[in-house]
Assembly symmetry: C2
Homo-oligomer: 425 residues x 2
Amino acid sequence: MALSYSTCPFSGSPARIRLAMLRRSFLKAALALPSGGVLGRFERLVAADRGKVKITGIKLKPVSGVAHTLVRIDTDAGLSGYGESGVSGAMMKAWLERYAPLLIGQDPLAIQVHFHRMSTLMHPYMARIPALSGIDMALWDLAGRLSGRPVYQLLGGPFRERVPMFINSQPRDMLEKAAVRDWAAKLREDPLGFKAVKIDAARPIGRPSGRYTTTLSNQDLRKIRTAFENVRQELGPEYDIMVHCHNEFDLPSSVGIARAVEQIEPTWLEDPLPVAFSDSWVSLKRASRVPLLTGEKLEMPHGFYPFLQHQAVDYIYPDIAFCGGLTGIVKIATLAALYRIPVATHNVGGILLTMASIHFGLSIHDFLTSETRLGQTRDVLAMAKNPPEIQGGSAGVPEGPGLGVELDEAGVRRFQRPEDPPEWV
Amino acid sequence: MALSYSTCPFSGSPARIRLAMLRRSFLKAALALPSGGVLGRFERLVAADRGKVKITGIKLKPVSGVAHTLVRIDTDAGLSGYGESGVSGAMMKAWLERYAPLLIGQDPLAIQVHFHRMSTLMHPYMARIPALSGIDMALWDLAGRLSGRPVYQLLGGPFRERVPMFINSQPRDMLEKAAVRDWAAKLREDPLGFKAVKIDAARPIGRPSGRYTTTLSNQDLRKIRTAFENVRQELGPEYDIMVHCHNEFDLPSSVGIARAVEQIEPTWLEDPLPVAFSDSWVSLKRASRVPLLTGEKLEMPHGFYPFLQHQAVDYIYPDIAFCGGLTGIVKIATLAALYRIPVATHNVGGILLTMASIHFGLSIHDFLTSETRLGQTRDVLAMAKNPPEIQGGSAGVPEGPGLGVELDEAGVRRFQRPEDPPEWV
């Protein structure tokens, strides 16, 4: 009753109890196996159980090509965990001034405690959820490596054998039928077999996406309708088409877009209205026959709460590098499950965020699909020495411990810009 | 109709139109005056009217002693504007990478346009409202200096002749009557005459304030009751007492605190529940006879919207260095006025934030009171060569242009820490 941190710092945190239970059951199985790798793992497991593993340092590597920063958490057990934060190197460095003192010297397995302390930080500055997201991801990777388990098992999965994925891709000119036909032909030849594609709504009308715009005219809306009809005609009914906005439209324009694309039966209309919840989202939902989705810029359960509570969207769409890491998205998904709303994952990041999305997608019942940057470049896979198995537009179950990939530093370098230091700093 | 930025970048922004009108009416008055300072001001005004003033640079000065960063916006007119952001130097530097390119070379008077562009920045990173708050404050200071007007006039005030203020102060031990008596005697001797004081609720029970805590016991609540009864007894009925929490309590504890302090008739109970809105705020409001206040960690109108919409608090409490600067707080106050909810201002910052709070307090009808750090140290006033006139617990109308103070660099230095560069960087 009424215990504060000072009297009872970490005992009984749910993550720790669950991890301890997992480790014990795994131990029984592992000791029965003849594999040569088991003893080292066993020693590490014992060390972890005895609370001997401590965080010794946190290093960063900005990858400006995906506008993210990689995080490495080192321990005195000689193992490190890796994560990816949805902020720049300079931003991550600024927040690490606040977060490192909360973590150095601590048991890395007390993930829920670390998440709580980082996310409730208030003075002198507020918590920065996208900055702690990569730290949390690295702690889960580390917990997996310490216990010899893939993250999806630590999260209680798998619910399925493959995780559906989709790409971003766009014809050069959606209003020019020949261009759409060429683009569609290339898409069908994709060796990774993606059959779900997200397409910008603002492109056919020549507006810069991501910048607030004034009311669309009927002429604009007719162009959008024609553009998406061309795409549907060339891709056929088997493809999933997502209509992509960037929170730049006003309410009448959003309703107009929803009606303009209704006939092509898009999988969803994404982010037409501003990021924060307002009753206009409810108005749009009532006026639209197209499923609505939002969430890539929302943080923590409280960011999604009004959208769920007011039945404003059909799907939610958190980004694990932004919304609060794996710990954060699990809490968000728990809330969504209460409303029976499926979860998709936003991902325009690198290999670590891609792996985190796959593990999460295996770990909840009502997972819809995960975005991937593979539509823009296959170099994402070169960021790992052992990239995930992706075919037929979906990813298989990762086998290794933690997030299941070893970074390929040369592959990571491809996403760095001249200003990014190549070493971990 | 449907003009985008590319076709119509700045024309007709409300701020610019209003400023132009103000400058014109001021010009007529100024030209009739014999003052020697008018001609220089006139030239500057003309230069501004012709759109010749451009932002040439933005400099920073971290003041870690108040956990804020000062912002200086330089122009080719030789005038600079000064503001204060509620973030660290490292955070401000990180965000300036995004904001400086939006501002350099632009007309500083297009304040609404700059606010819109900074606050709707989405890719690759979200806007950081506390970082842009100081930039916005500096733009208002600059607009005042360019037009020769105090900021409260640019904002359409004054509504009153003095701005009420309150301090933070606390007896060494609220449960020890002699200590409370000594403290109260000192408070009554205060030459600045403050008769409103905010006091931590967690101190009497020995909890570290600002850190989430588990449920308070009846013993805890009785201590809080006794502590605040001691304070009321020594201060008498003429003093305003605010009960200070830091978002650290759960719902039953918050209800318990509200009931424990009910008898002493506090002016408000502040921030007992977590920062983000939830229906528990409504539950607390229904269970409490004590006025509730929140908002120091909320940003933009959308942060305050659910609290207003659900009638969850009696007062809102934005911080101009955090919520979106002067432009942001005016928008927030407009929303609050719709609900007939008064606005108070949070302020634990330096002289610039103090001045911004005074100007804002003069500019809206239903302003309650502004916090000041003067209860902790009078050095805040030494940050200006011409500090504001404060007596009888309130501030007078500032007379100078802009925010009305010239920084005293030696006074600012008192709030810097060894790691803060003394020069503007």
